[in-house]
Amino acid sequence: MTDLATLELELINAIGSAESVAALEEVRVAALGKSGSVSGLLKGMGALSPDERREQGPIINGLRDRVSSAIAARKAELEAAELDARLLAERVDLTLPARPRRKGGVHPTMQVMDEMVAVFAEMGFAVAEGPDIEDDFHNFTALNFPPKHPAREMHDTFFLKPDPETGERKVLRTHTSPVQVRTMMSQKPPIRIIAPGRTFRKDSDATHTPMFHQIEGLVIDRDINMGHLKTTLQTFIARFFELDEVQARFRPHHFPFTEPSAEMDIRCDRSGGKLVFNTGDDWLEILGCGMVHPNVLRNCGIDPDEYQGFAFGMGVDRLAMLKYGVPDLRPMFDADTRWLAHYGFSAFAAPNPASGLS
């Protein structure tokens, strides 16, 4: 019996001192392989008498089982150690910077345009568009600007060179009102639209650029009066600036295309170098508006005895500046990547009623 005990001791020692999975495998083959020492003992049992076998069997099987599990345990140990070693070798320095990604953004004017469209959409306004290059009729005459009237001069119009054949001078639209004209001429009341787009005036200084953006609105129906205008615009401005309400005043003004005409101001305080709404003694002009002039309706084929309504217009770039604290107008159109990164909006800031306008 000492032979078996010695063999077991030798095998257990060999298993314990195997330093790699491969060395352990050699030990396993030497013990449990086809011609292994333990396998030999098991084979030798066939030559034993039934009595010897009854005695020796459990002893040899016990030896085999203990050796097998010792090998399995050692194998697990060695594999874990090898994995640890490999993972240690795979270490990377994660303080290294990732490849930088370009960060894009939405221009503040366009963000604000989207915001305005969203607010007006909730009020049932559709979005109408028209060409930037207009004729005199749509930009002026239909809008009740008498020919050669000084009011035309106020617009600092850009003209294209006269057509060599007809002599007609096209203009760059000075407002998006020609879209109102085109809408009224092509569509029957009730009308409820906004007209966003590029507009052009020959003006360039700290607060004017030769191109800018407007959103105009038009509501025509049988019984639309100035009270509707007031409430619509107050609601819009409050929603746009994300205020619960807005302290506004309407001040008489003159536009050829509306009668009565008004400008809307918001109460504000600018004393601290910062614009705060609904407080203070100052007023900030926000937009122009009025009841559509009967001549304009008539020029567009709408009977002013049957239909009436209001129109309004505002500068989108300027309102973007006011809402988001953009100090200067000119960089709006300069495409300075640093400016765009600072004042631009995330692609995912699409205005919606659930999470807000921006």
Binding site: I133, P162, D163, S204, M211, G227, T232, M291, T337, A347
Partner: protein
């Protein structure tokens, strides 16, 4: 338009202060731009007397003065040479803001002596443009007298006159509106007729009645001209006018008081006894006139000319400015006083064409009250007689004033219909009456119960909406009711049309892909436009804001290229910009297109991990992503290379099209020649999608997606390598492979391109991975082999040879 409070009070009885008046004006439509209150800034300053003045111990030019002030005896350091004992002057205490210097006084030593205030000059108080030393005041003025009162500085209101209201260009007209707005009571003046003592020795002939339909005048002889009295000078200078002499000042006074321009001619300087009003001569006869502003103007036939010498010599631009030759000066003894009516459009045009502006031109261009011709003349005569003496002739009155505004029918209920404001008819009638409208009952049986006649000075009023505006603005827009718009059904699919919705999607898609949105001008330089296929004369501006912005752009790319170049010049060369905006192919309403343009100036910073994706293919990937987002038919797009227009790199650009006639996109690298012409460093990569050419997806109305085809069978892949001529587009091989079995092959990937050892010169090896998705059952080996053979056959048709 500026006026002073005291001037207004000549026409309006009121207790209101200047700020109340300004507020009332603004709320009645006379938008006040500024209330200048010189008294406010003079408030800290008082009269003081220098008791003694001694040389500063440490400075030759300074004196240390003991000054009797409102605050007691003060030691003040003064640098003015005229500071001397006994002088009465102006004292500013510590803490006062000195407007002319723009500083607030603080107590600090001047060369070792503390100055307890300051002695001031007129210019330091902005009472004069320049001063020679501190102000010297009469010695009898007591110490402590406020300086504001001494200089008669009174508040001035400056407001915006809208072009429809020329009557606000006279203080009397402003007073009328303020009286209607309940700020005070309007004072009425009767203008006395001044009887002429003799027939006018000067006659008038009108040759251009369309320019000047009526002209009146009279001679006043034996006048004594000279500097105006102090009250008149003060009144004019307070609103920024220059006092010239009595005769001229009277005309300016009435222009601002009554919105009635006048002119005075020195009779002695007239050639002949007849004034002729006519059009300017044709260009070849070149008529030149030196006007009172000293400048020479050429009067063409669009300009109204006043002439003497039987009509031969121009002596004035009618309604605009008189000529230097016949102006009145201190030696004038006989004067011809003109009161006429010049056509607004003609006068406006003269101002524009000649670049000449004057108070008269401004008023006539907007429309002067034609009924004021004679009263204006009488009022001026009275003033001239009072100031200069003399003897007036009878009035010479030629022509016919334009007709007064026509009466029209009006229903006061229209006020409520248009504004929602509920006003009694009486109130409406009162407001209109106060504004000078004549309101009469219409003959019974008329639908509209009133007949309203606008006053002669309200030529802007032509219908009922105008009357509603008058009533509403005087009643005040604060009284407008709050009425919500009726609710309307919002279109179930949103308010944007598909094109508008696509613009919105493209914007957010590009921003998320790392492009910064720019908004650039719709114009560019004509020569630049020409580089991009534009520059047509029809798209050139007649009056550009700058020479390099004179043409409507045919592409958004030149602006983006220049923007990237500007960024590079600032030290930020790596740029990815996009713009969604218009391009202009012609000047017609249908010639405008919307483009989605992107530009990359690839200057990515070096990275430890090596170079990233090839920028050109990164751009192509971005482009495809955007096209997919906007629902373009990406799968059916053909890519055509070598046909791009000539601002693209001929070998590194392509276009995407549905067919040769429907090109949607050009993209690739921009031509170095173009970049050089725009002063931009390359390379730059770009794309320009013409949104109008991208067809809208069909069947979008049904929101349902159809069943998803999610096979439970594993897809398998097979790799192939084909050798083809180097010039052969890989895209052809990919398409051929994919087309070999459209049911089973779901993707073909290019995973290697190899040139070199083992591949003949002029050829390349293209490695394709074909993804096969079994549909009904796992494919048997024979089926896979058959499919493989089909792929090989299809690619071999394209000239590819399976690599052994």
């Amino acid at each position: 338009m500026k006026f002073t409070l005291s001037w207004l009070k000549d026409h309006l009885e009121t207790e209101a202060d200047v700020h109340q008046i300004a507020e009332a004006m603004t709320m009645a439509g006379l938008e006040v731009e500024e209330v200048l209150d010189p008294a406010a800034k003079l408030a800290p300053f008082t009269v003081a007397k220098i008791i003694s003045a001694e040389r500063h111990p440490n400075a030759d030019r300074l004196q240390v003065c003991q000054v009797e002030t409102v605050d007691g005896l003060k030691e003040i350091v003064c640098g003015a040479p005229n500071a001397r004992a006994g002088l009465t002057t102006i004292y500013a205490p510590i803490g006062a803001y000195v407007p002319g210097l723009g500083v607030t006084l603080v107590e600090k030593p001047v060369r070792g002596v503390v100055s307890n205030g300051m002695l001031c000059s007129a210019s330091e108080l902005e009472l004069a443009d320049e001063s020679d030393g501190i102000q010297e005041l009469p010695p009898e003025i007591p110490v402590g007298t406020p300086v504001a009162g001494l200089f008669g500085a009174e508040p001035v209101i400056d407001f915006e006159v809208t072009p429809n209201r020329p009557d606000w260009l006279g203080v009397a007209g402003i007073a009328r509106d303020l009286a209607a707005a309940s700020v005070g009571k309007l004072k009425h003046f009767d203008i006395a007729v001044v009887r002429g003592a003799f027939p006018s020795p000067i006659s008038v002939r009108l040759e251009a009645t369309e320019m000047c339909p009526v002209f009146a005048g009279r001679v006043i002889r034996g006048v004594k001209n000279g500097p105006s009295p102090a009250w008149l000078q003060k009144r004019l200078t307070a609103i920024g006018l220059r006092s010239i002499n009595r005769l001229v000042d009277v005309t300016n006074l009435i222009a601002y008081d009554r919105a009635r321009p006048l002119h005075v001619y020195d009779v002695a300087k007239l050639d002949g006894a007849e004034i002729v009003v006519r059009a300017g001569r044709a260009a070849e006869e070149a008529e030149r006139l030196v006007a009172l502003d000293g400048k020479t103007y050429a009067a063409d036939p669009s300009v109204c000319v006043v002439a003497d010498a039987g009509g031969a010599r121009a002596i004035g631009l009618g309604g605009v400015m008189g000529g230097e030759t016949t102006g009145c000066d201190d030696d004038t003894t006989d004067v011809f006083l003109e009161s006429a009516w010049f056509d607004p459009i003609v006068t406006a045009q003269t101002g524009r064409v000649l670049g000449i502006h004057s108070d008269a031109q401004y008023r006539f261009a907007r429309g002067v009250d034609p009924v004021s011709v004679t009263p204006g003349l009488e009022l001026a005569t009275r003033l001239i007689l009072d100031l200069c003496g003399g003897e007036p002739s009878e009035i010479v009155f030629v022509g016919e004033p334009p007709a007064n505004p026509e009466p029209f029918a009006f229903d006061p209920a229209y006020v409520k219909r248009l504004t929602g404001m509920d006003l009694a008819d009486d109130r409406i009638g009162t407001i209109l009456g106060q504004l000078g409208f004549l309101v009469q009952a219409a003959p019974s049986g008329q639908a509209e119960p009133w007949i309203v006649t606008p006053p002669s000075w309200r030529r802007d009023v032509e219908g009922r909406a105008d009357l509603v505006e008058e009533v509403a603005r005087i009643e005040g827009f604060d009284n407008l009711p709050d009425v919500a718009l009726p609710l309307v059904a919002i279109p179930a699919g949103g308010v944007l049309n598909p094109r508008q919705a696509r613009v919105r999607t493209a914007r957010r898609a590009l921003a998320s892909l790392g492009y910064a949105e720019a908004v650039t001008w719709s114009f560019t330089k004509q020569s630049t436009a020409a580089l991009f296929g534009g520059g047509d004369e029809r798209l050139v501006l007649e009056n550009p804001i700058a020479a390099d912005l004179d043409c409507m752009r045919p592409s958004a790319l030149p602006n983006l290229i220049q923007a990237a170049a500007r960024n590079a010049a600032r030290g930020f060369a790596d740029a990815a910009l996009f713009e969604i905006g218009p391009i202009y192919l012609g000047d017609g309403p249908k010639d405008q297109r919307t483009v989605i343009a992107g530009l990359v100036a690839p200057h990515a910073a070096r990275h430890w991990g090596g170079a990233g994706e090839e920028p050109l293919f990164a751009l192509k990937g971005d482009l495809i992503a955007v096209l997919e987002e906007i629902g373009a038919p990406v799968a059916s797009l053909q890519l055509a290379q070598g046909q791009n227009r000539d601002w693209w790199h001929p070998g590194r650009s392509a276009r995407l099209q549905l067919g040769p006639k429907n090109v949607m996109v050009e993209f690739g690298e921009l031509h170095p020649r173009i970049l050089k012409a725009l002063d931009a460093d390359g390379p730059m990569l770009a794309f320009e999608i013409v949104l109008d050419n991208v067809p809208e997806p069909r069947g979008q109305k049904a929101k349902g997606r159809g069943p998803a085809d999610l096979s439970s069978l594993m897809p398998l892949t097979r790799d192939f390598a084909f050798v083809v001529e180097d010039a052969k587009p890989v895209g052809d091989l990919v398409r051929a492979a994919a087309g070999a079995d459209k049911a089973l092959i779901v993707d073909v990937r290019v995973f290697d391109i190899y040139r070199g050892k083992g591949v003949d010169d002029g050829f390349k090896s293209v490695a394709l991975e074909v993804v096969i998705q079994p549909r009904e059952a796992t494919l048997a080996e024979a089926e896979i082999e058959a499919l493989t053979a089909k792929v090989v056959a299809a690619v071999e048709k394209q000239g590819g040879k399976l690599r052994a």
